[in-house]
Symmetry: C2
Subunit: 169 residues, 2 copies
């Protein structure tokens, strides 16, 4: 089939530091470390995710690709998301009862992740980060001899706007 050997966008190869392809490098080395292969599909999925802002669901990707005539199967999207999560490039988040949401991790090292406020009234999602909470979490883990890999901290409730709306109602 199409043998286009794609490189990155219009990579201006000026600098030494791979800025644009940072996540790609991380992904590649993660794959290599696990004896896995880089494929065109995985590359495209990663690229798309890093173009997106905010949260997305697997189906969003599927629709996106379908809409552009790119055939990437559902299975591949799910498989790739799993890989990206274990590579630390993407975070999986669950709100409400429905399916998982994903978002790219903000830093490769995973230091400054954020957590979420979820408005059950309008579905809005807010992000917060609190260093002190993070520290206390570590303390809790130490107390249990527990080694944390990740965490989920969601607060559900009513956002400012919805509160205002229901107050006037």
């Amino acid at each position: 089939m199409g043998a286009s050997r794609r490189r990155g966008r219009g990579s201006s190869n000026r600098e030494q530091v791979p800025r644009e392809g940072d996540e790609r490098q991380v992904f590649r080395s993660h794959l290599r470390r696990h004896g896995l292969k880089m494929t065109r599909e995985r590359d495209r999925i990663l690229e798309e995710i890093y173009r997106l802002e905010g949260h997305f669901r697997p189906d969003d990707l599927l629709v996106h690709f379908r809409g552009r005539g790119v055939r990437i199967s559902r299975a591949t999207i799910y498989r790739t998301l799993d890989l990206l999560v274990s590579a630390g490039l993407v975070r999986r988040e669950r709100f409400r009862g429905g399916g998982a949401h994903y978002e790219r991790a903000h830093t490769v090292e995973g230091h400054s992740h954020h957590d979420h406020l979820y408005c059950t009234s309008c579905g809005a999602i807010f992000e917060f980060h609190n260093e002190e909470i993070e520290r206390l979490q570590d303390e809790v883990c130490d107390g249990f001899g527990f080694e944390a890999h990740s965490h989920t901290h969601q607060i559900s409730g009513t956002c400012r706007d919805c509160r205002r709306a229901s107050a006037t109602a």
Copy 2:
């Protein structure tokens, strides 16, 4: 609010506070407040939940009733769990990707709930409670003008035993 007496294990039953039926009263008045009816099925489900220790899944209840020849449908169990959650008597928790787990809320007022450490290796669940984290959460919410109704705070990782096991391996 008000009457949240502690309720230790074998509380000395000196007081007038309805011990055994506490949750039933709460449920009843919740239903009444919403123009809903108390039924035998709802009563049985509540009773069973308050007999259980720890986490359970909707299917556990189903199997339990089936095994005893009590016919309560899946739909009813799910509907009742929803009601109990909104009445504040039961908490819904999600671990991993699978279905929801439930557990009874420890106090009616919802003050001293706990959060969870989840071992991804053996599936063990530990509970923790940290007053300071709770306080900081409130602060975060205030900052957003957000009114919290509930929260989920899960830390995934490896528990002490599993760490030990993999260290010796």
